[in-house]
């Protein structure tokens, strides 16, 4: 198979495990390109991509922009910290205005779950979901799984614990779908108020004790506390969260095995993850960032192929 089964990347839910494998194989090639002295390939020449971000983002937008530029695409950026509807313009109007300038692909981040799905029914360009509210963040899950594969050789059969604010995390959902499609076992761990009540229906284990989760897993993906997405209080204080759900070096030293530590960033140092772990040899956080560019190049390249 050399083509994706879909013309949009809306979520991991909507793609097959073959799609994921194809993305990984393509990303392997692009990673090799990124380590060359000349990191640019002409694959998307004459393709214009709009990065439309309705939520603040630094690394995802930068990662996409780099991926696009290294594929020789023309890039335009649109950022707004509020949804367009709050400014009196609808999402379709905003995007159609940008598309009128002959844009071929749209990379969109939006605070509403399903916003890229809505858009996909109303515009003709390819859409890449760069995060939609508390729903999915498919390229993050792909780069996470790609990084696990790189570090441990395979994702199949591995035990991955996702620790932290699961309720407000699009990374958690996409990771669950992606890891399960690749044959990994998934556990979620955090305060009960930050774990969706029905999460077990997705076939994941649920744990409230971080130490037990760390003992169980091969890989711990520590999630950021999404204070910006919490509309009400879910736990008493950051201090208490850090004491009972934060991961530190001492905890890792107590384990009878070595585990891999991941974090999608940006890290709240001293809250969900201590510096002595984030900067340790267990951590592959910076490799995740590096892989992000290669994986996003693969996604954009393959989607352009099904235009």
């Amino acid at each position: 198979m050399s083509q994706l089964s879909t013309r949009h990347l809306l979520g991991i839910k909507d793609i097959t495990s073959e799609d994921i494998r194809l993305i990984f194989e393509t990303a392997d090639n692009f990673k090799e390109v990124l380590n060359r002295p000349i990191k640019k390939v002409p694959s998307l020449r004459d393709i214009t991509i709009a990065n439309i971000f309705f939520e603040n983002s630094t690394r995802t937008r930068l990662s996409f922009e780099l991926a696009e530029k290294r594929l020789s695409a023309d890039v335009v950026n649109f950022s707004s910290s509020t949804s367009s509807v709050k400014k009196g313009e609808t999402l379709t109007d905003t995007v159609n205005n940008i598309l009128s300038m002959k844009v071929d692909m749209v990379v969109m981040r939006h605070s509403s779950p399903g916003a890229p799905h809505f858009l996909s029914k109303n515009i003709s360009a390819n859409i890449v979901n760069a995060g939609d509210g508390t729903h999915e963040h498919p390229t993050q899950a792909l780069l996470d799984a790609f990084s696990i594969r790189e570090k441990l050789g395979d994702v199949m059969g591995k035990k991955v614990a996702i620790i932290g604010d699961i309720l407000h995390s699009r990374v958690a959902l996409s990771n669950i779908f992606c890891l399960q499609k690749l044959g990994a076992e998934v556990m979620v761990c955090g305060p009960t108020t930050l774990i969706p009540k029905h999460i077990a229906s997705l076939g994941v284990k649920v744990e409230m004790d971080v130490k037990k989760a760390l003992q169980w897993c091969d890989v711990a993906n520590i999630l950021r506390i999404q204070l910006e997405r919490q509309q009400i209080k879910y736990f008493p204080s950051l201090r208490e969260y850090s004491l009972y759900f934060g991961v530190n070096k001492k905890m890792l030293d107590q384990l009878d095995k070595e585990i891999v530590i991941m974090h999608p960033g940006p890290i709240n140092r001293g809250v969900e993850l201590n510096s002595d772990v984030a900067d340790s040899e267990h951590s592959i956080i910076l490799q995740q960032v590096e892989n992000g560019v290669a994986v996003r190049m693969a996604v954009l390249y393959l989607l352009a192929g099904v235009r």
Binding site: K13, S83, V85, T90, L91, T92, H110, S112, P113, G114, A115, H117, F118, D132, G133, T134, H135, E136, R170, L173, P196, K197, H198, I199, S201, L202, Q231, I232
Partner: protein, 419 residues
């Protein structure tokens, strides 16, 4: 739509349904006021003979819950369009909710509704706000409004969630045996909720509204009813536990009745996986088990009525991101097609009972005369689209599809309406 006044009609081969049975086809006479079975030696002059083969008839249908957007948002539904819609949809009586701008809370608004609906074929029954602007705080002038002919009070789309307010309204209404209509749910447990909380909401990352938001509110309000006395009618039940609470309360002898939205019986939460904002409603579509409990509640009489819960929203209020879209679905023109779908599972006498004798019990009306009749064809198909849609809104997932079931005639006293 053609309306005839005081004209005699012969309706041939019509199957009459009541809450107990479906009669075999017979001929009926409409004498310009009411209908009756044609006597053998009937020799009086009639103006028209109509072949009603394949059609069914029942006493006129009653909708206990629909919204008009006038005054305030006339572009979504005006009283003129609502009147036409109700007639086309087979309703001879309809309770209209108070959630307009301004809310239906003074003599002026009631007079406005009465004047605007004077020419309607359907009788408009006012549900006046129990609290000012339906905010659940200060009471409206309930007795004053009752003297304008209002017997139903409640805040419509908003629950009366303050227990003190609910208790006092229940007590106050007892002076004239009025009924409190309440769509009970606990707002603090529904905060930011967009759909039913369950596997589907988890899968699509949408903030959920748990069953207990409704379960707790119904239990709490039944306790208050037990203490304060009075009559309460729970609108749009959606959970099995709520049905069970009402079932027990009825057995106990409390003055409680309940209804369910027709579309609550036609859709499930899993239908929302594609983020179609037309399916965003309150209460939210729930899972199969809850739906089965609602069906059971209809069968054993716990749920007295099926309502249209007609809530118009214009294109711009729905054509957007799911969590930003307004809730609500229209439900009048699709009401009969909905009943036809349900008739695979529930028999016609039961369905008809839920829109005739059941609502009458809720409204505390003893007997309905034979001067209100709805005649319909359950097998006629029609295209539900821009041409046939009579609402000013189109927020229904069946819009643009072919549906089955068409209301043919509506009789309300001296009016005989061909649809």
């Amino acid at each position: 739509m053609q309306t005839f006044f005081n004209m005699a009609k012969l309706l041939r081969s019509l199957r009459f349904i009541d809450e107990k049975s479906v009669n075999s086809p017979r001929d009926y006479i409409y004498n310009g006021f009411e209908i009756f079975e044609k006597p053998e030696n009937f020799n009086e002059e009639i103006d028209e003979s109509i072949d009603c083969s394949g059609m069914m008839a029942s006493r006129g249908w009653i909708d206990l819950r629909c919204v008009t957007a006038e005054p305030g948002e006339e572009h979504k539904e005006s009283l003129e369009s609502l009147g036409e819609l109700l007639a086309y949809s087979g309703f001879t009586k309809a309770v209209v909710l108070p959630n307009t701008h301004p809310a239906v809370q003074t003599k002026n608004e009631i007079q406005f509704l009465k004047t605007k609906s004077e020419h309607w074929t359907t009788e408009l029954i006012v549900n006046a706000a129990a609290t000012k602007d339906c905010k659940g705080e200060d009471f409206t002038d309930i007795l004053d409004l009752h003297h304008q002919g209002v017997n139903i009070f409640g805040d419509g789309l908003n629950p009366l969630s303050n227990p003190d307010r609910l208790m006092k309204v229940l007590q106050y209404l007892q002076k004239f045996d009025g009924v409190l209509f309440d769509h009970s749910y606990e707002p603090l447990l529904s905060l930011f909720g967009q759909m039913h909380e369950g596997e589907v909401s988890t899968r699509i990352g949408m903030k959920g509204i748990p069953n207990i938001a409704e379960d707790i509110a119904i239990q709490k309000n039944l306790e208050i009813l037990r203490y304060a006395g009075g009559s309460v009618h729970f609108q749009t039940l959606s959970t099995g536990a709520a049905v069970e609470s009402v079932r027990k309360a009825k057995k106990e002898g409390l003055k409680v009745t309940a209804d369910v939205s027709i579309y609550q019986l036609l859709f499930l939460d899993e239908d929302l996986s594609g983020f179609d904002a037309n399916l965003k409603v309150v209460p939210p579509f729930r899972g199969k088990e809850e739906r089965a409990a609602l069906i059971e509640g209809l069968k054993d009489g716990t749920i007295d009525a099926i309502v249209s819960n007609h809530q118009p929203q214009d294109f711009d209020a729905k054509h957007m991101e799911f969590d930003l879209a307004q809730p609500g679905m229209i439900g009048l023109q699709t009401f009969l097609p909905g009943l036809v779908k349900l008739s695979d599972e529930l028999d016609w006498p039961l369905l008809i009972g839920k829109i005739t004798s059941g609502p009458l019990r809720v409204l505390k009306v003893k007997e309905m005369s034979l001067s209100e009749i709805t005649v319909f064809d359950p097998s006629e198909t029609w295209q539900y689209d821009k041409r046939s849609n009579l609402s000013l809104s189109a927020n229904h997932p069946w819009y643009g599809t072919t549906v089955k079931g068409k209301v043919k005639f509506l009789i309300n006293g001296e009016r005989f309406v061909k649809l």
